[in-house]
C-alpha cells in the first residue's frame, strides 16, 4: 500500500538513515525558525518588540535529528523481530487470564480506595475526578459506542445538568436528592431537542451540528447573565447532604449524630462513594439496556442504518432514545460536578472537555465498558503527572492523543464480549465493529 513508503526501506543502511534524519532536521529548522526562533511581545505602549532564541531552535532541531535516528533504529529492530514476539507467549497467556478478572479486581480496589488512602486528600480528589470522567465516558459510550452517533457536543448536557442543579439549589433551596433526577430529566430533554434536527443527518453533518449545539449552549450560558451569572458563574452551590443530614461539624451534622469526631474528609469520602455509585448505575443501566430490544436496535443502527430500517426498526425513536439516555447520564454527572465544586462557570464546559470525553471513549475501545474506565484512568491520571509542567501539559496531552491513535487506532481494549450469543460467548475483535454513520 502506498502509505508504507514513508521511510525508504525497512533495512536501510546507515547513509540512508542519516539522510532521513538530516531531511527531518531541515524541515524542523524551517518550522521552528520563526515560531520558536523569534519571540514577540507587546510592550507597555502597545509597541511590539522581538528578540531571537537561536539556542532553543538549535536544541529542537538537534532533538529532531537524533529522535528520528532512534525511531528509525527502533522501527528496524521491531520490524525484524515482530511486535508479537517481544512479549513471550506465556506472558500473553497470563495477560488474557488477568483480563478476565481485571474488572472485578478494579472495582474491589476502587471500593477500598477511601479506606487505603484515607489520609491522602489529594488521591481522593483525583479519584473523584477520574470517576467523574469514567461516568461521562460511559454516558457518551451509549451515544457513540453503542448507537454509533458521533457526538462532539456532549459537554452541553454536562453543563445543563450542572446549571440545573446550581440554579434550582441556589434559587429554591431544593436538596441534592430532588435536583439530581431533575437535572437528569432536563438534560435528557435537551438531548431529545438536539436529537430532532439531527435525525436526518448522517456522519460528519451530525458531528458539526452536535459541535454547534455544544457551542450554542456555552454561549447562551455566558451571555444570559441575569439567569446564569454569565462568565462569573454560579457560586455558593449547596454541598450534598447524607439524605438530609449535612456533612459538617454542626450539632445536627452526621458526625455529631453518629457520635464520632468530625473530619472534613468525611465529605470527600461521601462524594467518592456518591460518584462511584452514579458511575456504576450508568454502567449497570447500559449493560441492561444492551440486552433489551432498544440496545440491540442501537447496535444495529451503528452497523447499518439502511438494513436497520429494512428490518422495521424505527430509527427515529432509536436515535432519540440513544441521545436522551446518554444526555441523562451527562446531566447526572453535571449535577455531581456542581455540588462537588460548589462553584461553576462556563469555563468548565468548553469543546476541550467534549473532545477529552470522546477521546476516552475511543481510546478505551468503542463499546467496551472496561476499556472506557481504563482510558479515563490513564488519561486523567496521566494528565495529573504533568501538573508540574503547567504550560506544557496540554501540549503533551495532544501529542499523547496523536501517538496513541497511531499506536492503537481501535483503542486499548481491542476485544469485547458480544451482547447476545448462541451457545458460547466468543470475544469480538473491535476491527469488526463499524464506527457507524447513523
Amino acid at each position: 500500500m502506498p502509505h508504507e513508503t514513508t521511510h525508504t526501506s525497512r533495512t536501510a543502511g546507515l547513509p540512508a538513515l542519516l539522510k532521513t534524519a538530516l531531511v527531518n532536521a531541515l524541515i524542523a529548522l524551517v518550522l521552528f525558525s520563526l515560531m520558536v526562533g523569534v519571540r514577540t511581545e507587546a510592550g507597555s505602549s502597545g509597541q511590539l518588540t522581538y528578540w531571537t532564541r537561536f539556542g532553543e531552535v538549535a536544541a529542537l532541531v538537534a532533538a529532531v535529528f537524533s529522535g528520528s535516528i532512534v525511531i528509525e533504529l527502533l522501527r528496524q529492530w521491531i520490524g525484524s523481530t515482530g511486535a508479537e514476539k517481544l512479549v513471550p507467549s506465556a506472558v500473553q497467556h497470563g495477560m488474557s487470564f488477568v483480563g478476565r478478572y481485571l474488572a472485578p479486581a478494579l472495582l474491589f480496589f476502587t471500593l477500598l480506595v477511601p479506606v487505603i488512602f484515607y489520609d491522602q486528600r489529594y488521591i481522593l480528589d483525583l479519584g473523584i475526578l477520574v470517576l467523574t470522567y469514567v461516568m461521562l465516558g460511559w454516558g457518551l459510550n451509549v451515544v457513540v459506542g453503542l448507537a454509533g452517533l458521533l457526538d462532539l457536543g456532549y459537554v452541553a448536557f454536562y453543563a445543563v445538568g450542572a446549571y440545573s442543579y446550581a440554579l434550582l439549589a441556589t434559587n429554591f433551596g431544593w436538596s441534592f436528592w430532588i435536583c439530581l433526577p431533575l437535572a437528569g430529566i432536563l438534560a435528557a430533554f435537551w438531548g431529545v431537542l438536539l436529537g430532532f434536527p439531527v435525525l436526518r443527518l448522517r456522519g460528519d453533518y451530525l458531528a458539526i451540528v452536535t459541535l454547534a449545539f455544544g457551542e450554542i449552549i456555552r454561549l447562551v450560558i455566558i451571555n444570559w447573565q441575569s439567569l446564569t451569572g454569565g462568565p462569573n458563574g454560579v457560586s455558593g452551590i449547596p454541598r450534598p447532604t447524607f439524605f438530609g443530614i449535612p456533612l459538617d461539624n454542626s450539632d445536627d451534622g452526621l458526625a455529631a449524630k453518629l457520635g464520632i469526631e468530625y473530619s472534613p474528609t468525611h465529605r470527600i469520602v461521601f462524594l467518592f462513594y456518591l460518584i462511584l455509585a452514579l458511575a456504576l448505575l450508568t454502567n449497570w443501566v447500559t449493560i441492561r439496556l444492551r440486552r433489551l430490544p432498544i440496545g440491540r436496535a442501537w447496535e444495529a443502527l451503528r452497523e447499518d442504518e439502511v438494513a436497520c430500517r429494512a428490518l422495521g426498526i424505527n430509527t427515529t425513536t432509536t436515535k432519540l432514545t440513544a441521545f436522551a439516555t446518554g444526555a441523562m447520564f451527562g446531566g447526572f454527572a453535571g449535577a455531581f460536578f456542581a455540588t462537588r465544586q460548589g462553584f461553576i462557570s462556563p469555563e468548565s464546559f468548553t469543546f476541550q472537555e467534549s473532545a477529552l470525553v470522546l477521546a476516552i471513549v475511543v481510546l478505551g475501545g468503542m463499546g467496551s465498558q472496561l476499556g472506557v474506565a481504563l482510558a479515563a484512568l490513564a488519561m486523567i491520571g496521566g494528565f495529573e503527572l504533568f501538573r508540574g509542567l503547567e504550560t506544557y501539559r496540554m501540549l503533551v496531552f495532544g501529542m499523547a492523543m496523536v501517538l496513541i491513535m497511531i499506536w492503537r487506532p481501535r483503542g486499548l481494549i481491542g476485544h469485547r464480549a458480544p451482547t447476545v450469543y448462541l451457545t458460547k460467548a466468543q470475544a469480538i475483535s473491535s476491527d469488526l465493529v463499524k464506527e457507524g454513520h447513523g
Partner: protein, 305 residues
C-alpha cells in the same frame, strides 16, 4: 439603507476570510474524507508567521509597503504550507486506512498541540500590530451625515480572495495536479491503479489548504490588527461551519458558505446583538441542515440498499 450597505461590505470581507479557510476543510474532506480539526490552528500559525515576518522586515529598514506585503505573503504561505505537510505526515498518513474516528481524534490532538505550541512559543497575550494599510474611499454620504466607507484593506482582502480563487479554480480544473485530486476524490484505489500518486496528491491537498489558510491569517492580521494563540479555534469552527453549510466537499459551496456565515454574523451584530452573533450563525446552520441535509450545494449521499 446606508447602514445596510456598510454592513454588507463588512460582511463580505469577513466572509472572504472564512471562505479561504473553509476551502482547506472542504478539500481535505473531499479527498481523504476526514475533518481536519487542526486546520483552524494552521490559520492561526499563518497569522503568527506573518506577524513575525512583518516585525523582522520592518526592523531591517524596509519601507516600501507593497514589497513588505509580498514578502510577508510568500514567507507565511511557504512556512505554513510546510506545517500542513508535516501535520499530514505525522498525524494523518499512518491512519489513512484506519477506521473513521481515529484520524479525527488524532486531528483533535494535533489541534491541541498546535494551540499550546503557539502559546508556549509566543506567549498567551494578544499581539497587536499598528495599522499598516490606511486610507480608503467614501462611496456615499447621506444627508444625516452617515458615510459608507470602503477602506483599502477591505479592497485588498476581497481582491486577494478573488485572485486566489481564480488561481485555485484553474489549478483544480486545468492542471495535472487538479486532475489527480479529482481522481482521488472519486476513488483512491482506482486512481492509484491508473498511475496517480495518491500520497503526493493528498500531501499537495494539505499544502494548498494550508497556504490558503496562511493568506487568510495574513488578511485577518491586517484587517483586525492582532493575532493570539486561541484565534484558530473560533475561526476554525466558523469556517468549518461554512464548509458544511455550503455542502462539505464542494469548493464553490465552501466560498458561498463562508460568505453566508460572514454576512449572518455581521448583520446579526449590526441589527440584533453582538453577544449572540455566534449563536445566530450556528442556529442558522442547524436550520439549513434540517431542510437541506447535505448543505446548500452538497450532492445527496447515495444509499446502498
Amino acid at each position: 439603507m446606508d447602514y445596510f450597505a456598510q454592513q454588507l461590505i463588512n460582511g463580505l470581507v469577513l466572509g472572504s476570510i472564512y471562505g479561504l479557510i473553509a476551502i482547506g476543510y472542504t478539500m481535505v474532506y473531499g479527498i481523504v474524507g476526514m475533518i481536519n480539526f487542526a486546520h483552524g490552528d494552521v490559520f492561526m500559525i499563518g497569522g503568527f508567521i506573518a506577524l513575525i515576518t512583518f516585525l523582522i522586515l520592518v526592523s531591517l529598514g524596509l519601507t516600501a509597503i507593497p514589497v513588505i506585503l509580498l514578502l510577508v505573503l510568500l514567507v507565511s504561505m511557504a512556512i505554513t504550507a510546510l506545517y500542513g505537510w508535516t501535520i499530514e505526515r505525522i498525524a494523518y498518513r499512518p491512519l489513512r486506512h484506519s477506521f473513521r474516528l481515529a484520524p479525527m481524534l488524532s486531528a483533535i490532538g494535533m489541534s491541541f498541540v498546535l494551540t499550546n505550541y503557539s502559546q508556549v512559543a509566543q506567549g498567551a497575550r494578544v499581539k497587536p500590530i499598528p495599522p499598516f494599510i490606511t486610507g480608503g474611499y467614501t462611496l456615499h454620504e447621506s444627508q444625516d451625515g452617515f458615510v459608507i466607507q470602503l477602506s483599502n484593506i477591505q479592497i485588498m482582502v476581497v481582491v486577494t480572495t478573488i485572485v486566489l480563487l481564480a488561481i485555485f479554480t484553474w489549478l483544480v480544473s486545468r492542471t495535472r495536479l487538479g486532475r489527480d485530486m479529482r481522481a482521488c476524490e472519486q476513488d483512491q484505489t482506482m486512481a492509484a491503479l491508473l498511475g496517480v500518486n495518491v500520497d503526493r496528491t493528498i500531501s499537495m491537498t494539505f499544502v494548498i489548504g494550508a497556504a490558503l489558510a496562511a493568506v487568510a491569517g495574513l488578511m485577518y492580521l491586517l484587517y483586525y490588527g492582532l493575532v493570539d494563540f486561541f484565534m484558530g479555534f473560533v475561526a476554525g469552527i466558523k469556517a468549518f461551519t461554512a464548509a458544511v453549510l455550503g455542502g462539505i466537499g464542494s469548493l464553490p459551496g465552501a466560498m458561498l458558505g463562508g460568505l453566508a456565515i460572514g454576512l449572518i454574523e455581521t448583520f446579526w451584530s449590526a441589527y440584533f446583538s453582538v453577544e449572540y452573533k455566534d449563536v445566530a450563525a450556528f442556529s442558522i446552520l442547524i436550520v439549513v441542515l434540517i431542510f437541506m441535509p447535505t448543505g446548500l450545494l452538497g450532492r445527496p449521499e447515495v444509499e446502498k440498499v
